[in-house]
């Protein structure tokens, strides 16, 4: 079992519904977020190309945040989901420094917080809030170890990339391009 997410950059319109859905679902304090949208424009006028990405923790397979955490608060649970156990976190910031994607932030209550792939929903067989909320249905969440899952199918048939794979993190958010 290995959960992952594939996000279709060609379908995403950058509406930020995933951001709001996450903030609502996970009670993210105002001014913070666990996922966000980036917009990259490149090319020379008039040949411009725009890429919209909904970004979040990559639930890295070789997660440097887990390696550097001195208490074991940052850990990989079943299905390869990277979480922070709030009661074990001392707020040292080692994991924030070690994440190449800046996916973590210090919660006003002191512990470090980040995307959990909505573990509480996934356990009940639901989709993460962002995936469920997306109006263009551009996100696919599921088990990439299962060759018959929708996400495995998408990854087999579409061109894709991960962010900064050279950081050696083995990210599990795939962008369909």
């Amino acid at each position: 079992m290995r959960y992952a997410m594939a996000i279709d950059t060609l379908k995403c319109v950058g509406c930020s519904d995933c951001v709001v859905a996450c903030q609502t679902e996970n009670n993210v304090p105002i001014g913070y977020c666990r996922d966000w949208i980036t917009e990259t424009v490149d090319g020379t006028y008039p040949q411009l190309e725009i890429e919209l990405r909904s970004e979040r923790c990559n639930h890295c397979e070789t997660a440097p945040c887990v390696r550097c955490c001195p208490t074991g608060a940052s850990q990989i649970v079943d299905g390869g989901i990277v979480i922070v156990e709030h009661d074990e976190c001392i707020g040292c910031g080692a994991c924030i420094e070690s994440c190449p994607y800046e996916a973590r932030y210090t919660h006003p209550e002191g512990y470090v917080d980040k995307c959990t792939f909505c573990l509480h929903r996934v356990k009940e067989g639901l989709q993460p809030a962002c995936v469920a909320a997306c109006p263009t249905k551009c996100m696919y969440f599921g088990d990439i170890d299962d060759p018959n899952s929708e996400i495995s199918h998408m990854l087999k048939t579409r061109k894709q990339k991960t962010l900064a794979p050279e950081a050696g993190t083995n990210p599990h958010i795939f962008y369909l391009i």
Binding site: E55, I96, G110, V112, G168
Partner: protein, 316 residues
């Protein structure tokens, strides 16, 4: 031609400016940790070679610094924890993969020994105190007891201070997300710098000319090694990938260039080295001046590395 017009959308006022989240407490802690490790290393070595009488500055005077430095460093570290009341969690596990974890354990070993070491000299610090009367008599017995185990402490200190010194660098170099830190030279480099500041502190507090001379010589060698390691570090980065090139750019032309070259390389290493050479070949130079410069340079070095490192990142 490829032109990147906008990379934006990430507009998180409560998050992004704070990702550079390690500030002066961490830099100070790294400096003080290295300094304490340096002093205790030399104190232990002198003790093991049974040269205490000759190098009193190292074993007796300078060793007042480590317990204070480690306590202040530890307070700075605690001050930096945002979930402070859970700090005890640090001592519920040993995670060899996480430098912060084994560093914290090493600190737990070295700090008490540094206090015991200082206490073992209390009778010599205060010879006229009424050590024979009342409760002070017990204190005196306890101090004698500690003194019996001085060599054991020294044996523990030699490896543990090396680990402590190297940890101050490895703590940073373990973060592959920060290309400036992520090079294996940083551990040995911070260790050398820690030993050098330790030697400098001994020079400042020593009362004997011979001892100052000896430690000036040691310091000179350490400065040489340090310059060599810094050169190596920069060379490695210049031969590295794009992110490393950009990281080295910060010290070679970018934002931190002046601070790094003026305060660390010139005033903190090269100039003190020249002064120490002058002194060794017989010119009269107050040994305190190069020593203080080395201490200052060592501290500024930690501040620059901590601040600059956090700017560097992977681009995607």
């Amino acid at each position: 031609m490829k032109e990147e017009l906008i990379i934006s959308g990430r507009n998180l006022p409560h998050i992004d400016p704070h990702l550079s989240l390690w500030h002066w407490p961490i830099s100070l802690y790294l400096f003080l940790g290295g300094l304490a490790a340096g002093i205790l290393f030399f104190a232990a070595l002198v003790t093991l070679f049974r040269k205490e009488e000759k190098y009193l500055g190292a074993v007796k005077y300078a060793t007042i610094i480590p317990p204070i430095a480690l306590s202040v460093g530890l307070l700075a570290l605690l001050y930096d924890l945002t979930h402070l009341w859970y700090a005890w969690r640090l001592y519920m596990v040993i995670r060899i993969e996480s430098p912060m974890s084994w560093g914290a354990w090493t600190l737990l070993l070295v700090t008490p020994i540094s206090f015991l070491w200082m206490i073992s000299y209390f009778k010599e610090y205060f010879p006229n105190w009424k050590w024979q009367q009342g409760v002070w008599n017990y204190a005196s017995i306890a101090i004698d007891f500690i003194n019996k185990y001085k060599r054991v402490m020294a044996w523990i200190l030699v490896p543990s201070t090396i680990i402590l010194g190297i940890y101050t660098g490895i703590l940073l170099s373990a973060f592959n997300a920060r290309p400036l830190w992520n090079n294996s030279i940083l551990g040995p480099l911070f260790l050398t710098s820690g030993l050098s500041t330790g030697a400098a502190a001994i020079i400042v507090l020593s009362k004997s000319h011979d001892e100052r001379r000896m430690f000036s010589m040691i310091d000179l060698v350490l400065i040489g090694i340090e310059l060599f390691l810094i050169t190596h570090m920069l060379m490695g980065m210049l031969a590295g990938s794009q992110v490393q090139l950009e990281a080295s750019e910060l010290l070679l032309g970018g934002e931190f260039t002046v601070a790094f070259w003026v305060f660390v390389i010139i005033l903190g290493l090269a100039f003190p080295a020249v002064l120490e050479i002058f002194e060794l070949i017989g010119y009269k130079v107050p040994a305190v001046i190069p020593a203080l410069l080395v201490l200052l340079g060592g501290m500024i070095f930690r501040f620059i590395m901590v601040d600059a490192g956090q700017i560097t990142r992977y681009l995607y």
